[in-house]
Symmetry: C2
Subunit: 229 residues, 2 copies
């Protein structure tokens, strides 16, 4: 469902080039629960941004749900992001003037694919599932770091996307709450066949994965290199 | 060096009261390496904000470095925050238009206590110590999540404060980088007697602490309750 073919992302910083992703080729199959592991600065977020069509590759092909994203028009990219992908950002990207409830409801409003009653039911259900049933009226700055992270999780899941991209979704959570979030995602993976691609530093998330892709300095580590990653 | 006496923080949310911290009394001695542990939403950030004079208590006394912060004028609070305390925020709070170097230099410029050459030496030294020696010219949105976290760490340490308040300083770091940051802090604790108060979910940070304060629903858990926290 996701195919990266010899992908490069090279940033320009003044006169220097910063190669964030270098010659990465990865194939993720539908229904997989995959994690991208690697040190801080190794390119995990950059890779997820390319898959999520939030950024474009300098070279190579990024193919998502059968479509070559480098060749799509802006409005088709927008449709892909809105209808097929749920993205949990490393720094959450919540709308500060909206409540937790409104933040989670937002993509459903954009989609216009379900009626008001169903929308309300879904928002409440997912807020409950991440343990924020009583915090719907708080705005982001009236929430703890881990609560904001869970609003970001809820928002990505409420549209029931085919692919969920999760950038360190448990970084700000204690181990009990973090496990609850991972269990919720595994259940969606088993019940609905949703594909999950995580970037994580959390050993518990890695244990839950059926596959680990190891990154170092923007390159994929050879799986046969054992624990060198 | 930090004394909380029956401290309460109660937020007003529309018509509801949200008690974030309830009747907390804690004494932290100079030179301690203490952690505040507890589930997401249990009040850790709120507690650190009260100690760091970033927020004021609804009830009770917060005494920092011998001064009762509830009775200080704004300019004395500002001096306390600038000269005695280094704060690593859970969401970093970096200045987006400044480079990593400039962000770290900022509190030294405000202090006006060291000359240009010494300022430059200190900024470079601490950036090197957190592994960002080559990233000084990147702005926050040109850095990875873990790199931004380390800029926030560097900025808090560069002024060599008496008290460092660290709100989940390793949340976005892989275990190797995270350990390097903890080792750096332990060294400062041993060499300079800097007091460290962490909030963390990271078992490795808790292992490094000489003392753990457990929070649950805004209250301190009795130490004799064993592992109930
Ligand atoms: N401005 C506010 N208005 C209302 N409630 C608030 C406000 N700020 C925080 N809260 C609530 O206070 C409680 C404690 O928040 P705090 O940020 O201290 O938790 P925490 O222990 O740091 O959590 P985490 O581990 O998720 O960072 C939470 O339930 C939160 O929703
Ligand atoms: N806009 C940019 N301009 C220049 N360099 C950038 C930019 N964005 C990211 N980088 C660099 O690209 C590299 C990879 O960044 P990325 O955010 O993908 O890392 P990461 O693996 O997600 O790290 P972390 O675990 O710390 O979140 C880093 O060295 C970073 O400094
Ligand atoms: Mg990242
Ligand atoms: Mg917090």
């Amino acid at each position: 469902i996701v195919d990266l073919v010899d992908v490069y992302k090279i940033y320009q910083l003044g006169n220097t080039e910063v190669p964030a992703v270098q010659g990465v080729s990865i194939r993720i199959n539908r229904g997989e629960f995959a994690t991208i592991a690697g040190p801080s600065g190794s390119g995990k977020t950059t890779l997820l941004n390319l898959i999520g069509c939030v950024d474009t590759a300098t070279r190579g092909d990024v193919i998502v749900a059968g479509q070559n994203t480098g060749r799509l028009k802006e409005k088709d990219l927008t449709r892909l992001r809105l209808f097929k992908i749920g993205f949990i950002f490393q720094s959450f990207n919540l709308v500060s003037v909206l409540t937790a409830y409104q933040n989670v409801e937002f993509p459903l409003l954009l989609q216009k694919s379900v009626g008001k009653a169903e929308r309300d039911r879904r928002v409440r259900e997912v807020l409950e599932a991440v343990g924020l049933g009583t915090h719907g009226k708080h705005r982001p700055n009236e929430l703890s770091g881990g609560q904001r992270q869970r609003v970001a999780v809820a928002r990505a899941l409420v549209t029931k996307p085919e692919i969920v991209l999760a950038d360190e979704p448990t970084a700000n959570l204690d181990s009990v709450t973090g496990s609850q979030i991972i269990d919720l995602m595994k259940e969606l993976n088993h019940r609905d066949g949703t594909t999950f691609i995580f970037s994580t530093h959390d050993a518990k998330v890695m244990e839950a994965a059926d596959r680990i892709v190891r990154l170092k300095d923007g390159r994929v580590q050879d799986a046969s290199a054992g624990h060198a990653g």
